[in-house]
């Protein structure tokens, strides 16, 4: 049976942080006419669809990198833990980079923006990467211990 991890479940901050992510996506589409899909924004830096298209992409990525620096000025950064070792991180990063580009999106582009647009394509993508994520964690944590 499934058991909820009440110790780590944080519904209020999850909703509040989620609303901020939605606000960012809303601002980018309404002000700039662009989709806040991180893999597409970064990938476009390496595989540019058109010239003069790189500055806003780089600025958005730098905003994400700067977020913890700004946060730290206002409050202590919440605890963050990476359990994966170096080898796993390299394989995981490469799969995330290649896969998100091949599938035209990741958790932000398909998961947040695509589902907000009620896109069937993004719904399928989200169901596939969630299922693959669930399966991978099951194999790593419960089959090979």
């Amino acid at each position: 049976m499934m058991t909820i991890d009440w110790l780590h479940f944080t519904p209020a901050s999850a909703l509040a942080g989620g609303a901020l992510i939605g606000l960012a996506a809303a601002l980018l589409i309404l002000l700039e006419g662009r989709i806040a899909g991180i893999s597409g924004i970064i990938g476009g830096l390496l595989h540019s669809p058109s010239r003069g298209d790189s500055a806003w992409r780089l600025a958005f990525a730098l905003g994400l990198v700067a977020a913890p620096l700004l946060y730290r000025v206002l409050a202590a950064l919440p605890e963050s833990r990476i359990d994966a070792g170096w080898g796993t991180l390299v394989v995981a990063g490469a799969l995330v980079g290649f896969g998100s580009r091949l599938g035209s999106g990741c958790t932000s582009g398909h998961g947040v923006c695509g589902l907000s647009r009620l896109s069937p394509r993004s719904l399928v993508a989200t169901l596939v990467f969630m299922s693959a994520g669930f399966a991978t964690v099951f194999v790593c944590r419960h089959l090979f211990v």
Partner: protein
């Protein structure tokens, strides 16, 4: 102007990831581990984001230009093909291995985590590999005799 707006939007997105706990890979894995003690937070993060995003995208779909006058670049692809399925599956496996996806990866990089740097470099390499793969595929399509 566009560059400044993009930076601020990236900043808001990143703050959202930190507040929601999604820049913590251990918490993301807590969501992906259905068989262990399950942390449903990620589902509420998506719910909160979609609740704000939904009306914005409804409004955007009715407009030809953005509020600042630029073109409204909503995705037009509709087909559910092998690329979408295979790419999403590969992405999901990578996400499940480390609990990190592209947005949190950049936040982890900024927070000074060495693992974040390693992940981002590998992710960029994966994206660069895709760019090469695409170029080769396009070249082959242009010269079917080759």
């Amino acid at each position: 102007m566009s560059v400044l707006i993009s930076f601020v939007v990236g900043l808001v997105f990143g703050i959202g990831l930190i507040v929601s706990g999604m820049s913590n890979p251990a918490k993301v894995l807590g969501f992906l581990d259905l068989a262990g003690p399950w942390d449903p937070s990620l589902a509420l993060v998506m719910g909160g984001a979609i609740a704000v995003g939904f009306p914005a995208f409804r409004l955007a779909a009715r407009r030809k230009a953005s509020l600042l006058g630029g073109p409204m670049q909503l995705p037009t692809a509709r087909q559910i093909d092998r690329r979408l399925l295979a790419g999403s599956a590969l992405f999901g496996v990578g996400w499940g291995l480390a609990g990190i996806c592209p947005g949190p990866a950049l936040v982890l990089l900024g927070s000074g985590a060495a693992g974040g740097l390693v992940f981002v470099l590998a992710m960029l390499a994966g994206m660069a590999l895709f760019a090469v793969f695409e170029r080769l595929r396009r070249a082959r399509q242009l010269t079917p005799d080759a």
